[in-house]
Amino acid sequence: MTEYVMSLAGARKAFGANEVLRGVTLEVSPGEVVAIIGPSGGGKSTLLRCATLLETLDGGSLAFGDLTVAHDEAGRTVYAKGDALKAARSRFGLVFQNYNLFPHRTVLQNIADAPRRVQKRDRAEAEREARELIAKMGLAGCEDKVPCQLSGGQQQRVSIARALALHPEVLFFDEPTSALDPELTAEVLRVIKSLAAEHMTMVIVTHEMSFAREVADRVVFLDGGQIVEEGPAEQVIDRPREARTKAFLSRLAD
């Protein structure tokens, strides 16, 4: 159990009569990069939202390393107490499709505030590390700008830095480039690739197939709330076995 950074088992989630997740099991090893692909409405975003505690599971279990967040009792998910959830939140980070930066705070504040307020780290130390992350994201000079002064690609890089500042063990990305044009997409993907090279554990929901093939150790194809096919990136994307995967990939190629 403890060898996985994150393990989600038998995840079920319904919104009313609409079953969005129908028994999904996803285990992520340290340093692994997992890409989740699939059609809209297939459950990709809901999967990430359940893994990041933004939604609650109906059934199944969820753990981050040795920390059990939710376990299954006779087919119903039972969540741990608030303290455990709080501890779990410090183990993962999430990068949103529309960045969701705090518009009234500067780039530096956006990144350094949570380490200070949530992790109670020293202000000078938090800001020093934030500056390092800003430089690493290629945003040197933007420290005192506010998000509205930045391009979409820059904003997304700030939001990656904001998540990294809390030292997560796993970073989730929910279609990080869907709101960006191709040029800006490239700069964000470059940053994610450099994180992969540093063996950052990541789970990435994406529509960028060439990127998934290049960066992911494993590709998961999710459709109809179930994992239809998973395996090494080249295998799933270039030589899919399942008919639904083939159909999805050929639709993208058109």
Binding site: L54, L94, F96, N100, R117, V146, C148
Partner: protein
Amino acid sequence: MSFSVMLTMLTEGFLVSLQIFLFTLLGAVPLGVAVALARMSRIAPVRWIVRVYISIMRGTPLMLQMFAIYFAPYYVFGIQLTPDSKWQATIVAFIVNYAAYFAEIYRSGLQSIPRGQIEAAEVLGYARAQTFCYIVLPQVVKRILPAMGNEIITLVKDTSLAFSIGVAEMFSTAKALVASQVSMVPFAIAAAFYWVFNFLVEIVLGAVEKRLDYYHD
């Protein structure tokens, strides 16, 4: 009676109006936050009670509310009214009335903050109170400023309603002077007071707005 004597009397009245204005803001600005949060409470009966309260405060004249609050202690509880009662009733009525309006303005601001930002804060591990204080509230202030400006300026003029219950604020003084001096000049002076004061309010609001202009969403 000389102009300067009238001016002195009206200035004294204006200081009373100013007190109504300041006490109302001091009470209604924070009370409105509590009312707005209760209006959006997850507990349905709390929501209903607050909806009824807001509906009555907005749906009946402030003048009647002052009378109701002034006479209620006597008719409901048999408490003897004192000379201070009028003043106390005026302040209480203004605060509970304005808190209802402020609450609805706050609610519009609170509900306009994108859900995604609150989710981002949640994932980053902020406690609910931290999210409210550091992320939601500062943005709400900027968004509600124009609407609050309207209410604050209305409040300056509404202080004249205290005249109806017999509080000697500026409008009461002006009306008494108009009658005794058979002159419209006291009304003109009072109008100038209201307008100049509101002009200052506009300058302050403008400065705050400018200060918050460093970002947009």
